[in-house]
């Protein structure tokens, strides 16, 4: 522990000691050389941190997959709280083809701005022409709606359901994720993880999806049982929305 330099040998020693496989160390193919699905996650100012990162964690374990964070411009993109930034490694102008597009949700400010941003909407429509799957998490569904990509049914953040229905003429389905053709919408924030596992099964088979669930130890046991808006009291809903509003820029 006396050396700040970590050599390949010491890392390999640690890897062996951890009992974990060391095969990937230093040998992972460069992203460009990978042959699995090309997954693009759209980041835009004010997105909610878990919306893209939960699915990205799951989908990045697909064999040969690349998960790329994409922004209107390259560089850091701030979340709804303003306190955290994830880097967009590619600009929309650099990305034409994706196997999977994922549009995360945001607070009011971010969702409203993205729904009115023709650069983002045009790009979403253009990329969607060639995707195998076009997906959203949370209020990302409203952005897909603004791009004209929703049909029949969808899900979204529970508080945005009336807006979804009245604006886009689709039926809100209160499930963790809803598939219509190649479009999959997920419910709020954490639902993107469930949706990503479903998508992993479609892309690589259920054995791989189950292994990814184990790889991320997703055996959820929240200490409370209050995540479902259908059974929440009006007071709890009000408090949830107030905490969101107060935490967002």
């Amino acid at each position: 522990m006396s050396d700040t330099q970590t050599t390949r040998r010491t890392v390999l020693t640690a890897a062996v000691a951890l009992g974990l496989p060391a095969a990937g160390i230093g040998t992972a193919a460069a992203a460009e050389g990978r042959r699995g699905p090309k997954i693009g996650v759209l980041l835009y100012d004010g997105f909610s941190l878990l919306d893209p990162t939960g699915p990205a964690e799951v989908l990045s374990r697909l064999p040969g997959a690349t998960v790329t964070m994409i922004g209107e411009r390259r560089g850091p993109v701030r979340t709804d709280t303003g306190a955290t930034a994830v880097v967009a490694d590619r600009a929309v102008s650099e990305v034409d083809r994706l196997d999977v597009l994922l549009v995360p949700g945001a607070g009011n400010r971010g969702t409203g701005a993205a729904m009115q941003n023709p650069v983002l909407l045009d790009w979403i429509r253009r990329v969607d022409r060639h995707t195998t799957w076009t997906t959203s998490v949370c209020t990302g569904a409203l952005i897909l709606g603004a791009a004209g990509l929703l049909r029949e049914r969808a899900t979204t953040y529970w508080a945005a359901a009336p807006y979804l229905e009245s604006t886009f003429g689709v039926r809100y389905v209160p499930e963790r994720y809803v598939r219509v053709g190649k479009v999959i919408t997920a419910a709020g924030v954490s639902a993107g993880i469930d949706m990503a596992l479903f998508l992993a099964g479609k892309l690589a088979g259920e054995d791989v999806a189950r292994a990814i669930q184990l790889a991320v130890e997703y055996d959820p046991h929240p200490p409370f049982d209050s995540g479902n808006a259908a059974t929440a009291s009006p007071q709890l809903k009000e408090l949830a929305l107030r905490l969101l509003a107060e935490s967002q820029q």
Copy 2:
């Protein structure tokens, strides 16, 4: 939709149309002025994306909370796949006091390097002296162990359990999170979300924690039931570790 400029008025209109509260728009206190818990998340090269971002999403909704990403240096910190970076907005040298410290896990390379990095270990020990809670997700427990902060019992990533027990002399407990005094360790990757809700309850009361669970719509329904290593077949474990190794740099 014809204007790329999003004015405060149009955003407010969208917020009202969405049916969501607009109180936070443009009025959130600057981070420095907030009076809730100061939460610091340590980022280091090779961390696993969901480990810090799941808890950060949950904890950022605590009243008045600030969640700060902290690195050895300021700037982007890459994940285990190398494909994504989250920005460290503060360097460890800039942060002395935190109410909550969270140390995420990583792949072999990242965990092994962090366990041998005296700058990070010294900082963890120094900050821990004044925290209310010192926490880890996944193999972050091994880093707390290397810093000398584990006692009696802990949890960690399922595949790292034998290493945890043999190296630090603590008993591995296969639960979503394990509390010993002010130290809370969470199991692998996604378990950080469950742990963060528990912690939210301790920091702000169970009503707030329940509201945060609703705010992030955390009503998990994964399409499979394979996230628990205790019931996984050897074949599934092998595949999970192979997918991890192949996806990591």
